[in-house]
């Protein structure tokens, strides 16, 4: 790894791959850093070594990733796998851990394409072994060909839930139930956006197909589910829920939940980019323009970490950010940039048609986001409950950073990734504040793990 690259792209998912290919094609020396062993991001994970049969299970959207990866591989991109970025600052200095060795490198332009993470939504029992994210289930399927052996319940909201249920169905898995927690009111909230959304119908037709297949297979599907609970001692044994005012219980050793995805903002926040609360998507995201440019010179964001848009939008985002970076470095004029970006800009316009519908439709019920019961754990690392937080709120410490100091909530190894949003939303609700007026946790480096020994070894190899 060199100590300087004109362009550094973080993350080899669809946005990062498209950006790297575009920049390399324009003769820009580009480093693409990715923490996984192979390119593709979470969405196209393991795409290069996927057995045919498993690839078919995953569907045609997954297979799109193959071409993206091939194009990057055949470009001049300096691709580094097993390379996590543990620090990024406003001077475009990056701390990188590559195959266990720490480096400090510099860039003239940085594109953060670190993607999304699942929206953490606490509910009783969500820390039990046997309760996992639906995305985790998908990663196990893509990476290792692992599927539930003794049945599974899927619960939550959002397109991934249906997709995974459909993939499991095709793999012969016993899908015991799909429990949809979207309140019926989401239909009302989403309805005004539907006519426009139909113009971008590929999303909707896919969703309807999954639904039809699940129904035909006789999979129990419940809508408007409330009071979701994972029940068990050492591990989950059953899922309890309320449907139409009646309590149900399903025995299961595995519960996979999904409540949509949120941008991974640790890097952009560590670099002190401005962030804003997005009400439609119920999450923070970096303030960025159509090119993904942030308020910090030289740093742009692309793909889901710029705001949730999905895999296809991420590709276009990646190219737009790359065109702009190439322009910023003086290789093409503004006019050339705009001309090259025409197709991608048109896609972004179409995207704006469907996104409001999806955001409104799949928004998790606000009761789950703002009213956790006192015994529910919000901070999985430090085991801080909603009750603990309400106690310090009553004592007058009413900001996420003050709550953090007083309870250690968000100070554990995940660095607040699992509790930042729930804590902010709880505080917003309890204090009658709009989440957009709440200052989230200050993000401290390192944003990815690095050991003292690795840091100690840094100086010697930073010039390699």
């Amino acid at each position: 790894m060199k100590s300087h690259y004109p362009l550094v792209i973080i993350g080899a998912g669809p946005a990062g791959l498209a950006a790297a290919t575009t920049a390399s094609e324009h003769g820009i020396e580009t480093a693409l850093l990715d923490e996984q062993p192979a390119p593709g991001g979470q969405i196209y994970r393991n795409i290069e070594s996927m057995p045919t049969q498993r690839a078919e299970l995953l569907g045609s959207e997954y297979q799109r990733g193959e071409k993206l990866v091939q194009l990057m591989r055949s470009s001049n991109t300096h691709y580094f796998s097993d390379a996590s970025v543990w620090s990024l600052n406003g001077q475009l200095e990056l701390g990188v851990l590559h195959q266990g060795r720490a480096h400090l490198i510099h860039a003239d332009q940085v594109i953060i394409a670190g993607g999304a993470q699942e929206r953490p939504v606490p509910f009783p029992g969500w820390t039990l072994p046997g309760v996992m994210n639906a995305g985790a289930g998908q990663i196990l399927l893509k990476q290792s060909g692992l599927v539930p052996s003794d049945g599974v319940v899927l619960a939550g909201s959002g397109p991934l839930l249906l997709l995974l249920a459909w993939q499991y169905l095709n793999a012969g898995v016993d899908v015991k139930a799909v429990l949809d927690v979207q309140p019926m009111s989401n239909w009302l909230r989403a309805a005004p956006y539907l006519p426009k959304a139909l113009l971008a119908h590929h999303y909707i037709t896919k969703g309807l197909r999954y639904k039809r297949d699940l129904k035909a297979a006789g999979v129990l599907t419940r809508h408007g589910v409330k009071d979701l609970r994972a029940i068990g001692g050492g591990h989950v044994q059953a899922v309890d829920y309320i449907h139409r005012n009646k309590l149900y219980s399903i025995k299961t050793p595995l519960l996979l939940t999904h409540f949509g995805v949120i941008p991974q903002t640790h890097l952009s926040r560590a670099a002190s980019c401005a962030h804003e609360w997005n009400t439609a998507q119920q999450c923070w995201r970096p303030v960025n323009d159509v090119w993904g440019a942030t308020d910090i010179k030289g740093i742009s964001v692309a793909g889901d970490n710029a705001g949730i848009g999905g895999a296809r939008t991420a590709e276009h985002n990646g190219r737009l950010a790359a065109f702009n970076a190439i322009h910023q470095m003086g290789h093409i004029s503004q006019g050339e940039r705009d001309k090259k970006a025409k197709k991608d800009l048109r896609w972004m316009k179409d995207e704006l048609l469907i996104r409001p519908f999806l955001d409104a439709m799949f928004r998790p019920p606000s009761i789950m986001l703002t009213h956790p019961t006192d015994e529910e754990i919000l901070c999985r690392c430090e085991e801080v409950t909603a009750g603990d937080i309400r106690k310090v709120l009553e004592e007058g410490h009413q900001t996420p950073n003050a709550v953090k100091f007083h309870t250690r909530c968000g100070m554990g190894p995940c660095q607040g990734r699992q509790c930042a949003d729930s804590v902010a939303q709880l505080i917003a609700y309890e204090t009658g504040t709009n989440p957009r007026d709440i200052e989230p946790y200050r993000v401290r480096p390192p944003v990815k793990p690095i050991t003292i020994g690795q840091l100690a070894g840094m100086e010697q190899n930073s010039e390699e």
């Binding site: 406003g90 002190s272 100070m411 401290r444 390192p446 003292i452 020994g453 840091l455 100690a456 100086e459």
Partner: protein
């Protein structure tokens, strides 16, 4: 608004001053441009250290140590104090000589709290230490506490006795008006006969507005903390010829400091960690505690603090203005001193003199120009 005393800065020094004033029935208003403990007071390493202090600070640190050992009585909270001692290890003969000279100096001044210990005693106290050390200077009743908890406890206790704290209230201007000071803030004007400047890294700026030029510069010492580790060490460890402060907290995390400075942007009040110095700090750690190499770092952070040229604080009356007292520039080792500084300030204000010697901390000791 009116008050007996107006304190600028709601950190440790300001809160302790308000507390000691309140204990004697004197009301104060405390302003903080952020909130108590936002900078140096809340995010320092929490060391309760008498060991290796500047001789001028020894009378104060000894008295502060006595207060910390009974901190519950003062603030109704134990502030997570753990008095497990501090050692300063020697890694060479030259280090040993340095420490012995130091021990002799402290003895000559009439104090007994810094003791030389031999190799055997050192490894009995710190079995996890790498085997090359030769001995150490040892202060048995030193230790550490949780700074944010302590700052909060001091503030709460002061509030319960009538002190009036205002967060997010910056001082916009400070002027004399007859026998009073007139302070303007976004909440309006505040009048008080006495003002205390306890504004840390911003102390020199405030001092200069009333004509006191005090060369205190802001700096941002960096700390790092690891994930929770199994309990392996009790005393706080420093080194004779390295920049290090190393301690395991009650929750198992290890806090590592040593006055490595971050790059500071004082306009935006932000600091950028300098990873090259952090790598140096990490090498110090792996030299003295090789098993720490596999421990993961969870956070780096830096707090903004005021530093004097001679690295001892400014405590005492203003050079040019009547009714104004300074207490800032603690140069990253004020945490332990804070209760005694609060008491001294209350004495200066109410009795006109301090019960402990503060001559070395005079605001006018620095050469002008």
């Amino acid at each position: 608004m009116k008050s007996d005393v107006l304190i600028i800065g709601g950190g440790l020094m300001g809160a302790c001053t308000a507390l000691y004033l309140a204990k004697r029935g004197v009301k104060s208003i405390v302003l903080d441009k952020d909130h108590s403990g936002r900078h140096a007071s809340g995010v320092n390493a929490g060391g309760l250290r008498k060991l290796n202090r500047n001789p001028a600070e020894i009378p104060l640190t000894v008295e502060a140590s006595r207060i910390w050992s009974h901190i519950q009585e003062l603030v109704d909270s134990d502030c997570d104090v753990k008095l497990s001692g501090q050692v300063r290890v020697a890694e060479s003969d030259a280090d040993m000589e340095l420490l012995e000279t130091r021990a002799a100096l402290v003895r000559e001044l009439g104090y007994e709290h810094e003791q030389m210990i031999n190799r055997d005693k050192l490894y009995e106290l710190v079995p996890a230490l790498a085997p090359h050390c030769l001995g150490a200077l040892w202060c048995e009743d030193d230790g550490f506490a949780r700074p944010y908890h302590a700052t909060t406890a001091f503030r709460r206790k002061a509030e319960s006795l009538g002190a009036d704290f205002h967060s997010h209230t910056a001082l916009n201007a400070l002027e004399r008006e007859g026998d009073n000071w007139l302070a303007s803030t976004h909440m309006g004007e505040i009048r008080a006969p006495v003002v205390v400047n306890a504004s840390g890294a911003w102390g020199a700026r405030l001092a200069s507005t009333i004509g006191d030029q005090i060369p205190v510069k802001p700096g941002a010492p960096t700390l790092m903390v690891t994930e929770r580790l199994p309990h392996f060490i009790d005393p706080v460890v420093g080194a004779a010829s390295r920049k290090l402060s190393f301690k395991q907290m009650q929750n198992g995390t290890v806090i590592i400091g040593g006055a490595h400075m971050a790059r500071l942007d004082m306009v935006n009040e932000r600091s950028e960690i300098d990873y090259r110095t952090m790598a140096e700090s990490a090498r110090t750690v792996t030299t003295l505690f090789p098993q720490m190499a596999d421990a993961r770092i969870v956070r780096f952070w830096a707090g903004i603090e005021g530093f004097t040229p001679d690295h001892i604080p400014v405590i005492g009356p203003s050079i040019n203005a009547p009714g104004l007292f300074h207490a800032f520039g603690f140069s990253a080792h004020g945490f332990q001193l804070s209760p005694v500084v609060g008491r001294i300030l209350s004495e200066l204000i109410l009795d006109g003199q301090s019960s402990l010697p503060i001559e070395p901390f005079r605001a006018d000791r620095f050469p002008t120009g």
